[in-house]
Symmetry: D2
Subunit: 150 residues, 4 copies
Amino acid sequence: MLDPAKLSDIEAIIAAQGAMRLIGVEVVRVERGETEFAVNFRPELSQQNGFFHAGIVSTLVDTAGGCAGVTAMPPGAGVLTVEFKLNLLAPADGERIVARAEVVKSGRTLTITQGRVFVYKNGVETLCALMQQTLISMPAKTVREPDSSK
Amino acid sequence: MLDPAKLSDIEAIIAAQGAMRLIGVEVVRVERGETEFAVNFRPELSQQNGFFHAGIVSTLVDTAGGCAGVTAMPPGAGVLTVEFKLNLLAPADGERIVARAEVVKSGRTLTITQGRVFVYKNGVETLCALMQQTLISMPAKTVREPDSSK
Amino acid sequence: MLDPAKLSDIEAIIAAQGAMRLIGVEVVRVERGETEFAVNFRPELSQQNGFFHAGIVSTLVDTAGGCAGVTAMPPGAGVLTVEFKLNLLAPADGERIVARAEVVKSGRTLTITQGRVFVYKNGVETLCALMQQTLISMPAKTVREPDSSK
Amino acid sequence: MLDPAKLSDIEAIIAAQGAMRLIGVEVVRVERGETEFAVNFRPELSQQNGFFHAGIVSTLVDTAGGCAGVTAMPPGAGVLTVEFKLNLLAPADGERIVARAEVVKSGRTLTITQGRVFVYKNGVETLCALMQQTLISMPAKTVREPDSSK
């Protein structure tokens, strides 16, 4: 079960991100260590063939992974993405993409997640991207200067 | 020197991508094997701390890398991103981000690029992201079905 | 069920790799789209703290992933690793490491796999590494010159 | 200039790694933020076509990157690899491979490096691999339990 304080942390993060509103990201499901976020197709999200742009796919799954990490941390803690690696398996050709991310390992400093993105077209689901991600946790209130020596 | 036909290939790709217009991507420089693309800050591109969202950073550098790959291919050929890996080195806190990508190796099937993203704030440049990317070339006219067996 | 010709392809690959004999890699299980390879600890495989060296972990899981890819291809076809990304989640501190790899997507040209490495110590299993990998298939007999234009 | 204490840190790390002796890794050059390590070919390091095994290439460049990270840290501090991503650009077909790694960003907690591996055959140098790596620094004396909560 997800702590309600944690869900409101995540809703607050998403609401505070201009890029999430620009893209139109929808929080479908949040559980402890797992998230599911979605975006419906609009021509403004396309690449040159009319598919979802890979950048939209990566934004969605990176955010889903980051929020999955947040669900596994103390209330008020934040995360920053250290790095992620994304394989694009098939064109994101469809009406809707859904990213599902889960925490594989949650450590004191680093959290590792994996994510999958599915595209839906005429009722058919196709796996279109695969992500592996490293997050770093930020104590509450220090999100602005994560590692000032860097 | 870049073939003018190649530059118009790239301008056509960017112009045809709704996501590039949505984000406001600017083509700064295109040479053979190298590109430089930029985005100016707007609140719609932010994450919760008011920095550029990591998804915008990744979209910019993935696209810069893909277009760098296009410059090294026969006219009319397209590319798809197979995968990329992005390290986020510092918050993208500033007025403008610029991605510089270059082809490290261009093969018959696969092309490997690297990219760096810099953020500018009050005249100070900070390296904020580092990318390594694999592209697959698509013969002219077959971009829509890159690998139909997949 | 795995085609017996495929299993003998894999056994032949492993037997032909000096590095696999040097490290002492054991083929535990091979099924269609899945492999499980193991290595027992010896001081020659260590890093400075007496754990398995990350290089041994990466060699094992890269090979397990490559062979998982082979199981999903026509007989006689080979693969080369295009790239892989490995997260090291915990020290590989134990008597034995086991890599389990599986094909996520098998395409005409490219195959994507994921792998996990577990370390065993005093009967306790710990997930110590996570891999995401891209393979390229080589038609039979052309393994030596995979992409001569590269 | 490299602090002599730092060079002896690195020599001690390499000497203490059974895997480095097994493979036959040679420290060619160590400077502040940069390393160059090499391995000469022996049949025990091969894959099935007689090239250097990708695992040997990855072990070499991961270690070169890790030691580059050590050169940028306080004396006595250690590093662990959080993750690395390796693109294999060409078969490692030759008499010797040399990995050159450099620190791109050194932070209080995390250090990012890049590396390239070159293979030499009959006097010809070929770039055969490209790496991007994340390291985490360990205070002196605590290397054994890097993140006990993980």
